[in-house]
Amino acid sequence: MKTKLAFAAALLAATMLGGVANAKTLVYCSEASPAGFDPSPWSGGNDFDASSRTIYSRLVEFDKGKTTISPGLAESWTVSDDGLEYTFKLRPGVKFQTTDYFTPTRDLNADDVKFSFERQWKKDSPWYEYLPGTGWEYFTGMGFPDLLKEIVKVDDLTVKFVLTKPEVAFLPDLGMDFSSIVSKEYADQLEKADTKQQFTQKPVGTGPYQFVDYQVDAVIRYAAWDGYFGGRQKIDDLIFAITPDPAVRAQKLKAGECDIMSYPAPADIEGLKADTNLNVEEQEGLNIGYMAYNTTLPPFDKVEVRKALNMAVNKQAIIDAVYQGAGQVAKNPIPPTMWSYNDAIKDDEYNPDEAKKMLEAAGVKDLSMKIWAMPVSRPYNPNAQRVAELIQADYAKVGVKAEIISYEWTEYRERGKAKDRDGAFQLGWTGDNGDPDNFLFLLGCSAIGQSNYAIWCNKEFEDLLQKGKATTDQAERTKIYEEAQVVFKREAPWLTIAHSKVFMPMNKKVSGFVMDPLGIHRFDGVDVTE
């Protein structure tokens, strides 16, 4: 036994010696392979982490850990009085990354900015379909094709965006990932060589790190970009070790195979916290996990039935068993960290006896229904199957028989949208920005068939929603949204389950990592101490 241990120690020492170098390395255990390194065609958080937040930068940047914005590639900007023209002054001397596959001959200019947006917008651009079937979903989803009128190059370092209508959120939109600025010079080069595909495989940007290598489904390597306009990073080598299984990620972190990891399984958090080499940072997630009734189908069209079913569920038990305590019971459709959160609202109390009586009073007997469980783990609901099992057991106590069903993820959402969907549907939402409308629109009448899985169209709620959108004064909007939450609670289209916490376990030698409320993982400004 002793000799074996000695052997293992020797082996370990040998491995460590082999890696000794003066370079500072940070290894991040990430949850999934990026679809590609072009920041605009894809919409997954893992895609953004690997592309836009490492390799690229934008005209404006979100402040670390906040939803406020600061100048990025644009030094300053002016907005016309009618709110239709945004003129940006670009930072002079911004260098695109020099890699072994591309050497830039010029600095960033207005052409790059124009190109970055027009390739997603103009169908006659040779880059619009350079990836077969790219929908530029984010660009489209944020309404840019209708919002943009034209992008004008005023001079090399001045670019003007002309809009078709005023849009309060236009500046924050330019800080989002799909608005990352790419190199037109590089694109032209690839177009000439007829290797356009390379644009997403070998990326070039102006961000803090430059791309070095990607081994499919295994490892992404980046190096600090010496010419980064924000200053060279302290970390020399940034490595993403792609590890889809959260338990394996946790184990790798404990074993020192990585320095920081994303999305730990709730079950592992206790163990990670107990490890003296690790820090587990946490943050209230900007999210909601819910179960939507189909409010158009009897008996769920009756408020009393929905209320009774809500009262039958022991939500605390769900928090304990599924979120492992890493979350809190939700009573409103928006998370408590959001402004306008109405804390005065009282949640439906857990009371099976009362629920049973209410069901009887509503004339519901021998109800059997379906509970839909998502096939994937999401921060707002780490294990929908288990939630369903708990709800199923709770329902059984009030005489409701429930069957759990699930489908492949795409199909699941597709089937859930159907107006005649049978059963209560679990899902959730993570905010894109810090606005309550970004949550409440999920329940709007126009979202039926899209994101309104409760198929719930309530005039009172809808009016408030529209009023909130048309109002600019935040105090006034707060009042409107507070009232909307009252309506929501009274009508109970959802069982609001939980707001989860988001955790970021990391080795104690890692410093400077700031958790992002929108779930982005940024490594600029991060350092490791040996």
Partner: protein, 335 residues
Amino acid sequence: MFRYLLHKLALIVPTVIGISLAAFAFVRLLPGDPILALAGERGVSPERYAELIERFGYNRPYIVQYLDYIGNVLTGDFGISIATKRPVWGEFMALFPATLELAVVALIIAVAIGIPAGIFAAVKRGSWFDQATMGVALTGYSMPIFWWGLLLIIFFSGYLGWTPVSGRIGLQYFFRPVTGFMLIDSLIAGRPGAFSSAVSHLILPSIVLATIPLAVIARQTRSAMLEVLGEDYVRTARAKGLAPRRVVGLHAFRNALIPVVTTIGLQVGTLMAGAILTETIFSWPGIGKWMIDAIGKRDYVVVQSGLLIIALIVMAVNLLVDMLYAVINPRIRVQ
């Protein structure tokens, strides 16, 4: 021999066509919609949907789609992955070495331990060694390997901390793949410690993957040897006073080899199926995990071409085994 091969090849053509049809049909039968799968969580507008259907040709009759697909495959174009927009063949080639390396090492382990164990068990028939070996072999044969992998991870990586948890090599070693086989690439790179790091990463997954083939080979070797040892010429050789080792080594084993080789060949399918589970457990970046992910993500193009490529590989290996079999065993050629 030549006619035998020709006969075999003639049988293969309809099978290959059948396989391609099956792969094509499976994907068309999968519920869900490739365009929506591609669009992701934000959905897609109806206009864009129609555009994409047109663009990918999913609105054409199936027969046209099939012929088109086969035409492309024959020119080496296996399509473009829906999820990553990369050519399927490129993805396959990037990931296949990882699976091949794992499978080859597992097979080497299985053969290197399985055959000697089987021979000794046969020679010492009924001894405690025989019984123990066969007991272990049967246990291995009955093993749910996904569970076995988890146990090994708990024990060796979690509890003892001897082996790395996942990956193919320590992340501090960075070299561009030459062969795609980490064991060879690490030697080519010549970095001290790189090779041992690659070995330590490979060891648990290959043990897990080797478990069932090892058990099968040991059992098959034993019974083949027993059969041969019971035959007349071996008895004669023994009676002639040849050294037991020579009898076993020269006469018996060579003849016992025929069924054993067949068995080894048949393990290729088992290895592929095992790779799916092993790669899932160890986060091993190979084609087993690639296929599982593709099925999960409804990446139709990858599922279809992946099924086709994998089935063709299995068929090719089986053909190879048939040929080898014909070489070792002359009797079959005249069949």
